[in-house]
Symmetry: C2
Subunit: 383 residues, 2 copies
């Protein structure tokens, strides 16, 4: 299949530091190449890829001090895409909604993965107009505010198999990894650690917008013998940081659309204790790859239960549900459906919310400890 | 002529407070209606107009606390324009470059006025691609960094004739009106006032981004018996503030693309003492409607010369060169050329930089004190 992947230009693909969308676009692009597809990646010029790279800018924008007008490059990127669109069987957009009015008027097979939260009122009038644009969600929960648009499936993010090392040994500290921002609730993580009397290591970046929150709400909480603040860590250190942990704390307070870090921990064999918001109950198999809780009390209880946690099974769930191979296969199925729909000159049934990926409940239905190989996916399982 | 005007959605058209682009779009729209054209205004829903209003949002965006995603509404606005484009003879965009990839692929007669500074390196690759998009500059100087794109003319901004009251009486204070920001150089204005031993009244707003500059560089300078800081004033107060002044100080340090405030002062009969940057030498007729200077020394000298300034002649220059009637007529000529060029199936000669509005040098050539009526524009002159 001749596939175009369209990534935002803010970060390199893959990103040097933060950047979930560009990271997933990179994993997907490289895997599609590996699976034999002819892939063109529209992304910043410093991106690293086995695909053909087409770029409107030599450097990614966020860390380029000379760049002040981000939109200019995204407009130029659109032009590059439209000039080459006839070369592709499908164009897969990861840039939100910017391209919609164009696609209305172009004969291009396309699909858009929405990577962000969708509960902003500003999006309602936009999507009322563009409810016919074929879209992919990254969790079912993400769809809730815009349940009525033309969803073609949910595709959970996948990670390259060897990106994170499995660690069969249970660690002794709790981990917090992410941004320090009100919706991530580091304060809750600290409270959980204190109540559980366990050390907490915090690897977190602080965006400019969150500096005030950090100083006012968080700084004083860090001054505690159980709490260690490491600052931002790079990608290479994440595997050790997560793999050596007893558990990852994810006590969020917002409708998380996916939560990549839960799958990163899972890949290391480390369980996540997460609050029931957004995608959490879909991404975590409760008591298998993590614990879905409703309050601090339950989180502390979960930490006790984790003493007997099966880290190898957790890793198997990761390989079953969150491998990049599975993600790419899911997308190719959706691409094919979009293409077929156009060829048959009638569109694939819209507003049909059936995801085509293995779901939490499908796996959970096998019962605790049931061999995942029974699901017919032994080929994917690590020994 | 069936004309669409496309304004940004940040401010109401006309704006409640700040907002040069929306202000000019409003003046132009209302005048085109008055001149008998059938005009549709694409703008925020709270805009006030005699034209037909089409809007993707009930309220303008900047002052709407519920609005976080500005781009969503601009994408929706584009869709609205494209759905109605067949109804217009010409679509006139005031929203920078956002629409270019669309227009490449649509059969729409269009022209875009570029309202901002064009000297950002980010714009070069964009306009290298889109050098064929018909554009209008608001001064010749504005074009310099992108001299090679398809300019169809320079149209200086125009103001409604009665928006600012002419005051034949020379005032006693110097005026500074605008933002407090490094490129506006309020510090220089204060230095000029002190050197000239004249009182300076400052009517200025402070953007969030400039608050640090205000505190570090400006605050201490305000503590001087000659200096009075009024804060931000509303539109209704501007006529008195400018009209009662001895002179407006405009000691800028950036490539000002137009500088509306110079024409506002001119309308009141008040001369501007301005530094020779960007559009200044084009907008001001030196020693007739203002004084173009190169340093503080020259500014102080100019203030002495202004003692004998002919305020009535200054007002006549305003009416001659910066009336909204003239602006609208200039634009209609450009619209007609764009339409004719399409009808003849070959485009109007590109990269031809001839402005069609009366220029500073045309008027200056008449010599100091020569009656402007000699230029054949007596009908425009106030008694």
């Amino acid at each position: 299949m001749r596939i175009a992947q369209v990534a935002p230009l803010y970060e390199r693909v893959p990103p040097l530091y933060y950047g979930g969308t560009e990271r997933v676009a990179s994993y997907l692009t490289e895997e599609l190449v590996d699976q034999g597809h002819e892939v063109t990646l529209f992304a910043s010029g410093d991106s690293l890829t086995k695909a053909k790279l087409v770029s409107p800018c030599a450097q990614s924008l966020r860390l380029n001090p000379n760049c002040v007008d981000f939109l200019a490059y995204h407009v130029l990127q659109l032009e590059q895409i439209f000039q080459q669109a006839h070369l592709f069987d499908i164009v897969h957009f990861h840039i939100d909604y910017f391209h919609y009015p164009f696609l209305r008027r172009q004969d291009i097979a396309h699909v858009t993965t929405l990577h962000g939260r969708l509960d902003m009122p500003d999006l309602v009038p936009l999507y009322r107009e563009f409810c016919d644009m074929p879209a992919v969600s990254i969790s079912d929960a993400q769809r809730t505010p815009l349940a009525w648009i033309d969803w073609r499936g949910t595709v959970y993010h996948g990670l390259p198999r060897n990106l994170y090392r499995f660690n069969k040994q249970q660690g002794k500290y709790l981990a917090f990894l992410g941004r320090i921002s009100p919706e991530k609730r580091l304060d809750r993580a600290i409270e959980i650690a204190k109540r559980a009397k366990m050390p907490l290591k915090i690897a977190a970046k602080i965006d400019a917008v969150d500096r005030c929150y950090m100083e006012k709400e968080i700084r004083s909480l860090l001054d505690h013998p159980l709490v260690e603040f490491l600052g931002e860590i790079d990608d290479g250190s994440k595997s050790d940081f997560l793999g050596n942990a007893y558990a990852l704390l994810f006590p969020i307070d917002w409708p998380e659309p996916f939560g990549l870090v839960m799958t990163e921990a899972m890949a290391c064999g480390t369980p996540t204790v997460a609050f029931r918001r957004g995608s959490v109950p879909e991404v975590l198999d409760d008591q298998i790859s993590g614990y879905v809780v409703d309050d601090v009390e339950q989180a502390v209880e979960a930490l006790k239960a984790i003493r007997h946690f099966d880290r190898a099974r957790c890793r198997r769930v990761f390989e079953e549900r969150f491998s990049v191979r599975r993600m790419a296969q899911d997308y190719v199925k959706i691409y094919q459906r979009v293409i077929d729909g156009r060829v048959r000159a009638h569109s694939t049934p819209a507003r049909q919310s059936g995801a085509i990926v293995p779901r939490r409940d499908e796996i959970a239905a096998k019962g605790n400890g049931a061999p995942l190989a029974a699901a017919g996916c032994a080929a994917n399982l690590s020994p």
